[in-house]
């Protein structure tokens, strides 16, 4: 019978490499050694969640040096958004992070609404929260499925994608698209929620906790899973904060911080949910945080379903919001407003604003500058994945090459968002 080796515990203080915080350098005494092998890992590698390139210096199986190279998926979203009117630019936001699309949409729409000083009806607020939480479950499911797949647990992938498909069905039902829904409109929602949605969503809320039980029974006590996640990719609380980590990575390092609770937006201050925190700071802690977040998200969805207010689903501001379709046949004013908004776009007062939400990956921020015209002057997304990848060098010290996959996977990066 094998005796489990002593697993390293979370360290105190800081381990951020110097002088470059994001590059792990080979120790000076080994630099000229012929035993150190430089390996190029990626950019086209199935386990890098896109196109991430890691330059790794190996000493046997041990990772001595590491530098992450990004930018292979840069498509100039921010430049493109400057060329589009405000309401067309919303279409770009979800495509930046193709797993947490509705959260991206939400943060941009919230930023524009903050500049406009627009009051959003309660029904839209609650519906946005419901969809953002479904989206969080969706994103965590994809993470769990692929992260487990990379460590050899192929069946997990199929189970996760089974539930993910149910969520995509719900999105399709509500918005007509399975991904990149563009359902959030400045002022509220693009359409009212179709009546069939509530029953389907209630069925999902019933099924999902059992599915999470299933996942946990598959891997929680699985010796291989534990061996390959516990004590790996350590990140202390101080280092996590210094490196700007957020979301499950930060909470997996024992920092009790969630923007939904610390800085409540939408209706998060009116629902009951718990923020899971694990102090171990390893891959396993991040996994546990995400699993519990899925359960909490289901609870939020359940509360939103029960308490969904009625009434209008979009604000009644004719300078910003398209007039109702039926008015176009009878009202000259409505027709003019419709024409102006569609052709020229609405104008947003001059100013700059930074809005942040808790996306599945952490603090997702949006910095917007307006010059008072119909197009954004500057849009900048604070992408949590971009920041998460900066922690690779710190989390990778004393790791083996095989653990690198688990560690990079545990940071849950989406390369579309990293490179924008």
């Amino acid at each position: 019978m094998a005796i489990a080796p002593e697993r390293p515990h979370i360290y105190e203080g800081t381990r951020i490499p110097s002088p470059i915080p994001t590059v792990l350098q080979v120790p000076a005494d080994l630099r000229s050694s012929e035993d150190v092998l430089r390996v190029n890992f990626g950019p086209n590698h199935p386990s890098t969640h896109g196109v991430l390139r890691l330059i790794v210096d190996l000493h046997g199986e041990e990772v001595l040096g590491l530098a992450a190279v990004v930018g292979y998926l840069h498509t100039g979203f921010e430049k493109n958004m400057e060329q589009k009117s405000w309401w067309k630019a919303i279409t770009y936001a979800p495509r930046i992070d193709y797993l947490a699309f509705q959260n991206n949409e939400l943060v941009f729409v919230l930023a524009v609404e903050k500049m406009l000083g627009l009051e959003v009806p309660a029904r839209a607020t609650w519906m946005r929260m419901l969809l953002a939480e479904l989206n969080r479950i969706h994103s965590h499911l994809v993470w769990l499925g692929t992260a487990a797949l990379e460590l050899g647990a192929i069946s997990m992938f199929w189970y996760c994608f089974r539930e993910r498909d149910r969520i995509l069905d719900l999105f399709e039902l509500v918005a007509g698209y399975r991904m990149h829904t563009r359902y959030f409109q400045v002022g509220g929602l693009a359409e009212d929620v179709p009546p069939g949605f509530w029953d389907e969503c209630a069925k999902f809320v019933e099924v999902m906790p059992k599915a999470v039980d299933d996942y946990e029974s598959l891997v929680n006590r699985n010796e291989i899973w534990l061996e390959r996640t516990q004590g790996l990719g350590l990140l202390s609380a101080d280092d996590a904060i210094a490196l700007g980590q957020s979301g499950p990575v930060l909470r997996g390092s024992g920092v009790d911080w969630d923007l939904r609770r610390a800085e409540p937006y939408l209706a998060y201050d009116q629902v009951d949910f718990r923020v899971p925190v694990y102090p171990e700071g390893d891959v396993y802690a991040r996994y546990r945080v995400r699993m519990e977040e899925m359960r909490e998200s289901v609870r939020i969805v359940d509360q939103a379903l029960r308490r969904m207010p009625g009434g209008p689903w979009i604000a009644d501001d004719r300078k910003v919001v398209l007039p109702p379709r039926e008015e176009l046949h009878t009202s000259m004013e409505s027709l003019i407003h419709h024409f102006k908004i569609v052709t020229e776009g609405f104008r947003v007062p001059e100013g700059e604003v930074y809005v942040a939400v808790e996306s599945p990956r952490g603090e997702l921020g949006c910095y917007v500058v307006s010059d008072g015209g119909p197009k954004p002057w500057r849009v900048k997304f604070r992408a949590p994945s971009f920041v998460a990848l900066q922690a690779t060098a710190t989390a990778m010290s004393n790791a083996l090459i095989a653990d690198m996959i688990a560690i990079v996977g545990s940071l849950d990066t989406v390369m579309g968002e990293v490179d924008r």
């Binding site: 951020i16 002088p19 470059i20 915080p21 994001t22 590059v23 990004v70 930018g71 840069h74 100039g76 921010e78 430049k79 060329q83 904060i241 210094a242 490196l243 700007g244 920092v255 911080w257 923007l259 610390a262 800085e263 052709t343 020229e344 104008r347 001059e350 700059e352 930074y354 942040a356 603090e363 921020g365 910095y367 500058v369 010059d371 008072g372 015209g373 119909p374 197009k375 002057w377 500057r378 900048k380 604070r382 971009f386 920041v387 990848l389 900066q390 490179d419 924008r420």
Partner: protein, 154 residues
Amino acid sequence: MVDAALHLRDELGFNFLSDLAAADYLGWGKAGVSGYIGTPAGRNLNEPSTQGYQRLPGEKPQRFSISYHLLALREGAPRVRLQVWVGDGQSVPSVVGVWPTADWFERETWDMFGIAFDGHPNLSRILMDDDWEGHPLRKDYPIGGEPVRFSGEE
């Protein structure tokens, strides 16, 4: 600048750098929009008008702004924006020593806007190719494709 950053971090507790965002204000206030704009003298295309803006936006002190969005991880989640104005060709002191997470943000700003950060340990391009010419998010960077080299061309 670095002293201000250290003061914010150590005295006021803003230990979390959320975001570092630059903006280029070249042509600010001169952006034209489509549509008929009436002036008291009728329509005059050669005279600068407000182009349909209710008023022209206020002037900016320099071409570029860099905004450091800071957050304190405590009750109430206070946020602060530290804004620095830079002219073309000027550089800013790096804050990597204060918040290590600024490393990639500053590289991105260099890559996209060409604003150099003094004292950055590894200031190189991050999103574009290493041999890329120009800085794409500058307002004078052309949009609409890049020059294509054809085979047989000198």
